[in-house]
């Protein structure tokens, strides 16, 4: 079967348990088992090739440019691990089917498990380091889900997060390391990398790469100082612990060290780091394991210890060490999975895993006892069990290893580790199964059904078979070991056998076993010493670190993002000024080429007014009405400035916009406080003023700079001036630019205006349909009101002047193309005319008589402009292409018909609609509950009291 399929099967299979969930637990487990089995068989079909010493490969391009492809390879090492993963996986699935209770969601469980399985297989079969990283991180993620599977347990959540954080961190570091390797070699293909030992080890980035990759390995394999997460992962259901945290995931780090062994090992750095970490882990894990009362915790630390052992072996960098490591991996997988399953059985049956509450199970659970004892003894290194063999090899290797210039350091520590290892194994057997039967088990234990004990039994059978007849696996181990060392070193003669003679390793073994037994004798006093010894609790430290990190993150983020706009604005403005200043200081300045134009008295006076009004605004801004008056003056001065500087269109627009803006702000000010209180400190005001002055100087300097210089070449507006009449049909070049040359800008601009009005309308609706409505209705005016809402003089004036203003608006609209004016200004003029009417007779009276659907006006305006643009398509011209012609119809003078005018009509309508809809919205907010609609256009009308007004009756019918 293709390797791709072997890897893909668990992933696609992962969809099934979830789907099958409703079909029942058996179906769920069954489908999972089937998927695993097919993958397993698929793997086995490749065995002959592997045994023949060939490498099976498969390749699918994924991201070739990045060098990340689905490149898989299967050699001895890969096969070995894949075999373990899938084989033990099958057993775990069987076991898990019976282990999980009815409350547990089995589909979810098996989905995660299969995901994990696929990721693991992916790691060991990857022939691309980036692909390997993908699978690597996937194991972290799926293990996160599995550890946190029992969501109600806080330990599960914490354990899951810890595992993810630690292994995730390692994975990220490894990304760095792998990328370095890939960049050194020029390929991310593992097979290529593995052939470039010399190149890699000579590179200055070898050490960083090594450290980063080892970080990944050590975290995954729970090596000191990252060993602490593994015991907390025991919150996972036992099948998970057995699978991930003994047989597979924690071996991923070991696998990778083995995989990269040919290119990374053999240097002093590798040796010191890996051996030391392994050694410390081995001893530390063993010591801690001895004092754990939770069966699974004990086993977890034993796993840590054994992984340390394997790491140490790989660290020695010798071929023998590598072979011993491979052999121990195999052995550890068999006995440790069996042990975990046994512990799970005990937990499952006795409802506790606390060794202190157990004992005497030998009689109640004989089968379990047998399995667990054989596995534990193997772990303790008792002869005729497989653990003994590999441990002997480890001790043998230790005697040849010199660390930090000392010949005895490694052998002694290895013996101490073995000693403690033996001790906890004896404790596991003794305190759980031996001793008298108790009467206070939380639940009366007995052996489980075959579904639960057969899987560990199979494993224990292997333990014994290998232990007794190691030659059966010798060739296989040899094959795998050769895959590990590649062509870097040569393997010695076949070594795997039970009896080597009276070598130092044998004495060390004996010391360990005897010492272990002795420790059991003095266990109680030892425990007391242990418990009174203060020692760092990894979980507490980790949680503290995460909490501290979170708190630090909060102390960085929250004060910085505290919702203070003024701070944000300040930071932003300072950044802008600083960036501009930086650009300025790093640039060059030449002499100006233009001369200053003389300024007469009038511009100077105008400037003075502007400055005075602006300064007044800053100083008096707390009086908001006064501020509005002053801003009106600023606007007026700017308008006059535009007139002075030959920009009549701008002056008109500025002036009319000013009027409408003031009306708008007054409408808003009606609701807002009329005063701005003094709140900021003097210091703060000085600071703000400093930034303000800096900003002012910056824009002054910039404007002054370029006004005295010429553009680098002729501005494009030369073309506009030259072609405005010829091609645009208008003599007002500004208007022709607006409706023709850059009509598309204008199109966007009226849309902005339309959106503004829609937004204002929508928000008004929201406010009036929300809790604000009541407050608005019962609002008490914040100032005494005068009488005479609709003064007669204003009404009468409006009656006459409003039609005139409309006429002028029309005039401005028409001649905009040739003289100052245009749709936009006309729109504003017409809007102001209607506002006059609103101000004269009130909103209710006015709008009751003529309710334009302003929405529609906006929509129509934008559509007219848009369709004018589209119109040009029908004459095969681009969007908005203008056309014009001159017409003469007596008695009128010759006049111009231009599509631009139609476009301008759209502008006009959009402006009118937008302004009116906005003002209408503001007025709707101001309607009070107690205010009846005005019946008459003016409050006081002496003519009304004499003859009754006839017209109003007519009007009412009309509306």
């Amino acid at each position: 079967m293709s390797l791709l399929l072997v890897v893909a099967l668990p992933f696609f299979g992962a969809l099934l348990p979830g789907v099958m969930n409703s079909a029942g637990r058996a179906a769920c487990a069954g489908v999972t088992f089937t998927v695993s089995l097919i993958a397993f068989i698929g793997l086995l079909t490749n065995l002959p090739t592997v045994l023949a010493g060939e490498v099976v490969t498969a390749r699918v391009e994924w991201i070739p440019a990045l060098g990340l492809n689905f490149t898989l390879m299967l050699d001895g090492l890969g096969f070995f691990f894949a075999f373990l993963i899938l084989g033990i996986g099958l057993l775990i699935i069987t076991y898990g089917r019976h282990y999980l209770s009815r409350d547990d969601n089995m589909g979810e469980f098996f989905t995660y498990l299969l995901l994990f399985q696929g990721a693991m297989v992916g790691i060991v079969l990857s022939d691309n380091v980036l692909l390997l990283l993908v699978f690597w991180e996937l194991t972290s993620l799926s293990s996160f889900l599995l550890i946190g599977y029992w969501k109600h347990l806080p330990e599960g959540r914490q354990g899951a997060r810890m595992a993810l954080a630690v292994t995730g961190m390692g994975g990220l570091a490894m990304i760095g390391g792998m990328l370095i390797l890939g960049q050194i070699v020029g390929s991310y293909d593992l097979s290529v990398i593995l052939q470039n030992r010399a190149l890699i080890q000579a590179d200055p980035l070898y050490v960083p790469a090594l450290i980063l990759i080892l970080l990944g390995c050590f975290t995954k394999s729970a090596q000191f100082p990252f060993h602490f997460w593994l015991p907390h992962a025991m919150a996972a259901p036992t099948p998970v612990s057995a699978y991930l945290h003994s047989a597979t995931m924690v071996k991923a780090g070991i696998f990778l060290m083995a995989r990269m062994w040919p290119v990374l090992s053999g240097t002093p750095e590798w040796f010191v780091i890996v051996t030391t970490a392994g050694l410390i882990t081995m001893v530390l894990g063993a010591v801690i394991a001895l004092f754990k009362h939770d069966l699974k915790a004990l086993l977890a630390f034993s796993t840590v210890s054994h992984l340390g052992l394997i790491t140490m072996l790989l660290g020695t960098g010798t071929a023998f060490g590598a072979m011993a490591a491979v052999f121990h991996i195999l052995n550890h997988a068999t006995f440790k999975a069996a042990l975990f399953m046994s512990a799970g059985i005990v937990d499952h049956e006795a409802h506790t895993r606390d060794i202190r509450r157990l004992g005497g199970l030998r009689r109640l659970m004989p089968v379990t006892f047998g399995i667990a004892t054989l596995a534990a003894l193997s772990m303790a290194g008792i002869p005729f069990l497989n653990g003994f063999l590999s441990k002997e090899m480890m001790l043998e290797e230790a005697t040849h290893t010199m660390l930090f210039g000392s010949e005895w350091l490694v052998p002694v520590l290895a013996t101490v580790g073995s000693l403690f290892s033996a001790a906890y194994c004896f404790r596991f057997i003794g305190h759980t199964f031996l001793g008298p039967v108790r009467d206070d088990y939380p639940h009366k234990p007995h052996d489980p059904g075959a579904g639960m004990w057969v899987p560990p039994a199979i494993l224990v059978t292997l333990v014994v078979v290998i232990g007794v007849a190691p030659f059966l696996v010798q060739d296989f181990v040899f094959l795998v070991a050769k895959a590990v060392i590649g062509d870097v070193a040569m393997l010695e003669v076949k070594y795997i056998k039970i009896w080597h003679g009276l070598v130092p390793a044998l004495y060390m073994s004996i010391i360990a076993v005897v010492g272990g037994l002795a420790l059991m004798l003095i266990y109680k006093p030892l425990l007391k010493v242990w418990e009174t010894t203060p020692r760092p609790e990894a979980k507490v430290i980790f949680e503290a670190i995460v909490e501290a990190a979170a708190r630090m993150a909060q102390s960085i983020i929250h004060p910085l993002h505290n919702g203070s706009f003024t701070r944000y604005a300040m930071i932003g403005l300072v950044a802008m000024i600083a960036a501009g200043y930086h650009a300025w200081t790093t640039g060059t300045v030449a002499e100006p080429v233009r001369e200053l134009q003389a300024a007469g008295a009038v511009p100077i006076a105008g400037w003075g007014m502007l400055v005075a009004a602006t300064a007044g605004l800053v100083l008096l801004h707390r009086n908001r009405l006064l501020a509005l008056i002053l801003i009106g003056i600023v606007g007026l001065m700017v308008s006059i400035g535009f007139v002075y500087l030959s920009a009549p269109d701008l002056a008109m627009t500025q002036f009319t916009v000013e009027v409408v803006t003031i009306i708008l702000l007054l409408l808003a000010l009606n609701f807002l406080p009329n005063q701005t209180p003094v709140e900021s400190t003097v210091l703060r005001r000085i600071r703000d003023a400093a930034v303000a002055v800096a900003g002012g100087l910056a824009t002054f300097a910039l404007a002054y700079h370029y006004m005295l210089r010429e553009a680098v070449t002729t501005p494009i507006s030369e073309f506009h001036l030259a072609n405005s009449y010829k091609g645009g049909g208008g003599t007002n070049v500004v208007n022709v630019i607006l409706v023709d040359f850059r009509g598309f800008d204008t199109y966007g601009e009226i849309i902005v205006l339309g959106i503004a009005a829609l937004l204002i309308y929508a928000l008004t609706e929201s406010l009036l349909n929300g809790p604000v409505r009541r407050r608005l209705l019962n609002r008490v005016p914040d100032q005494p009101r005068a009488g005479d809402m609709h003064p007669m003089m204003m009404v009468v004036l409006t009656r006459v002047i409003m039609p005139v203003v409309l006429l002028v608006g029309f005039y401005i609209f028409l001649r905009g193309h040739n003289e100052p004016g245009g749709g936009f200004i006309a729109g504003l003029i017409v809007s102001i005319a209607v506002v006059m009417q609103y101000m004269a007779s009130g909103f209710a009276w006015t709008s009751a008589r003529l309710r334009y659907p302003y929405h529609g006006v906006i929509g129509a305006g934008v559509l007219v402009a848009g369709f004018t643009g589209i119109g040009s398509w029908f004459v095969a011209q681009p969007f908005l292409t203008s056309a014009f012609t001159y017409v003469r119809i007596p008695p009128f003078d010759k006049f111009e018909l231009a599509t631009a005018a139609l476009f301008d009509l759209g502008v006009f309508l959009a402006v009118v609609g937008a302004v009116m809809l906005s003002l209408e919205s503001f007025s709707r907010l101001a309607r009070r509950a107690d205010m009846p609609d005005a019946e008459f256009p003016m409050d006081i009308d002496p003519s009304r009291s004499d003859p009754p007004p006839v017209q109003t009756a007519e009007l009412k019918e009309g509306n």
């Binding site: 994924w62 991201i63 070739p64 990045l66 060098g67 990340l68 991180e137 993620l141 996160f144 889900l145 969501k151 806080p154 599960g156 959540r157 993810l164 990220l172 990304i175 760095g176 990328l179 960049q183 990190a549 993150a553 909060q554 983020i557 993002h561 604005a569 932003g572 950044a575 802008m576 960036a579 501009g580 650009a583 790093t586 640039g587 910039l702 700079h705 370029y706 553009a711 680098v712 501005p715 494009i716 072609n723 850059r742 009509g743 598309f744 800008d745 199109y747 959106i755 829609l758 937004l759 309308y761 929508a762 928000l763 929201s766 929405h855 529609g856 929509g859 398509w873 969007f879 908005l880």
Partner: protein, 514 residues
């Protein structure tokens, strides 16, 4: 001349007023129009992408005036890709808005939505700098409307800050444009690119300031630290589908930086050297760090997602600011990824809000319908945190790979990787609190009555986005080689220039222009 390239702008721009005019009281009709419009947009953008996929450029003279005198629309592989991304995102966001009935909770949602699209698409397609300003304003003002859609106190208060900050940005844009016109006398991007090369070394301050101001404008859009402050509250407070749509808005800034700083002010341009090539990368790295630290620091899920957007933009900007074809190729790949991932997370956040009643990251009673939501959150978080197998991881690898030869590679790698870790921790923390940690075992809370439960359509919308994300992952090779080709094209503009500047328009002879 075909008109296809202008349609992505004109179609929503006509649809919106049409809805306002005819269907403003009929939400059903609006939905149909809106959906139909977006489906049309998608079809259009696929066609456009197809048309330029061979490296050709589509050029459109508005009002028939040739560049640089009139406004031109230019569709190349970069802009059409962004157009396609926007319209596809819009479809799913709109489906969610309909499915969750968000569109009913205020007025004119669909019109504003269409206008928003018009602004974004226009910004991607225009070849004129001032026109870009106009489209920025269109997209901004529509975004204000969408952001405060349905009202509410906190939202309006955040809205005020959002609007004000962006007003400062718009003002800055005009300052930049004024400087550029004063210095060069043109507004067309291609013309500008040619004119800046005429500027001598004896006087560079003017164009330098223009270039840096423009960069700041785009940096605001891209939420680059320290100009990112507008983002967290406004994205957190915005209605979920709106925030999801906003995922593309930050990319407008990134797009503009790519366009302007590869075409007009490329790193090798002497007169503007030593500015953006100096500051952009550090700022991007800080953004990445701040964003991901924010993920860890967040006390509410919506702010967490908002900060993750800042972080992902930091990542995009890191890639951009390396200014090599491979880094920009990576940036474009990552842009697509982070747009989808950000949108997904915002929509899921809405599901959490609906199911749980609050987004506080504190223990709450268990929520309804957790399973699906939790799974989606997990996947979304994986995507955003850049864990495998989703595109975030691939994008991260691309960026790291592209950074290898940069002087600051150590910084880039260190910050990219460590911020990744921080965000993993942050997401894990938040996810486990929201979905795992529950107060007691009492019955799940019924969602408050005023929160209408999202329908299957809402879930389907998120599912659709996930499908896109998966496709982006599975076909990463194709996408990546495409984005790399785009990036290479960005560093070689000759065909673009000759097309835009040498094609005559009404009354113009291209020879006279220069």
């Amino acid at each position: 001349m075909t008109h296809w390239i202008i349609l992505p702008i004109v179609l929503p721009a006509l649809l919106a007023p049409f809805m306002v005019l005819t269907a403003r009281h009929h939400i059903g009709i609006q939905r149909v129009f809106s959906l139909a419009g977006i489906v049309g947009l998608i079809a259009l953008s696929i066609g456009l992408v197809w048309q330029v996929s061979d490296g050709s450029v589509i050029y459109y003279r508005l009002s028939d005036w040739a560049a640089p005198f009139g406004i031109v629309i230019v569709g190349d592989r970069l802009s059409t890709l962004m157009v396609l991304l926007t319209s596809v995102l819009a479809l799913f966001v709109l489906l969610y808005a309909i499915g969750s009935k968000w569109d009913e909770r205020g007025r004119h949602f669909h019109a504003l939505f269409q206008f928003q699209l018009m602004g974004i698409l226009g910004a991607f397609l225009t070849g004129d700098l001032f026109n870009l300003f106009v489209f920025f304003e269109v997209l901004l003002i529509a975004s204000y409307g969408l952001m405060i859609h349905a009202g509410g106190n906190a939202r309006l208060r955040a809205g005020v800050q959002y609007v004000l900050f962006n007003l400062i940005g718009s003002t800055l844009f005009l300052f930049a444009l004024g400087s550029i016109y004063a210095e060069t006398g043109t507004l067309n991007m291609a013309d500008l690119a040619q004119r800046v090369t005429l500027i001598g070394a004896e006087e560079t301050v003017g164009i330098r300031i223009a270039a840096v101001l423009l960069l700041l404008v785009f940096a605001i859009k891209a939420a680059l630290v320290p100009l990112h402050f507008w983002l967290p509250s406004s994205y957190a407070e915005a209605p979920a589908p709106v925030a999801a749509l906003f995922a593309i808005m930050t990319k407008v800034g990134a797009y503009a930086i790519i366009r302007v700083y590869t075409m007009i002010f490329p790193p090798e341009l002497e007169v503007t050297s030593g500015m953006h090539d100096l500051w952009l990368l550090p700022a991007a790295l800080v953004s990445l760090a701040i964003g991901m630290i924010g993920v860890l620091a967040a006390r509410k899920l919506d702010r967490l997602v908002a900060f993750s957007i800042i972080g992902s933009m930091g990542m995009v900007m890191v890639a951009i600011s390396l200014f090599t074809p491979s880094s920009i190729g990576a940036a474009l790949y990552y842009i697509v990824h982070s747009t989808l991932a950000g949108a997904i997370l915002f929509l899921i956040t809405d599901l959490v809000r609906t199911g749980r009643g609050t987004l506080d990251l504190t223990a709450q009673p268990p929520m309804m319908g957790t399973h699906m939501t939790a799974g989606m959150f997990f996947a979304g978080a994986i995507a955003m945190a850049g864990l495998p197998p989703l595109s975030g991881f691939l994008g991260k690898l691309m960026v790291l790979d592209a950074a290898y030869s940069d002087d600051l590679v150590v910084w880039v790698w260190a910050i990219v990787l460590s911020s990744s870790l921080i965000s993993v921790v942050g997401f894990a923390r938040a996810g486990s609190i929201v979905f795992w940690k529950a107060l007691g075992t009492q019955a799940t809370v019924e969602p408050a009555t005023d929160l209408s439960r999202p329908s299957a359509l809402a879930y389907a919308a998120i599912g659709g986005l996930f499908a896109l994300l998966v496709a982006h992952t599975v076909f990463a090779g194709t996408v990546h080689s495409y984005t790399t080709e785009i990036a290479e094209e960005l560093f070689d503009h000759e065909s673009y220039f000759s097309l835009v500047l040498d094609t005559p328009g009404k009354l113009s002879n291209p020879k006279e222009a220069h």
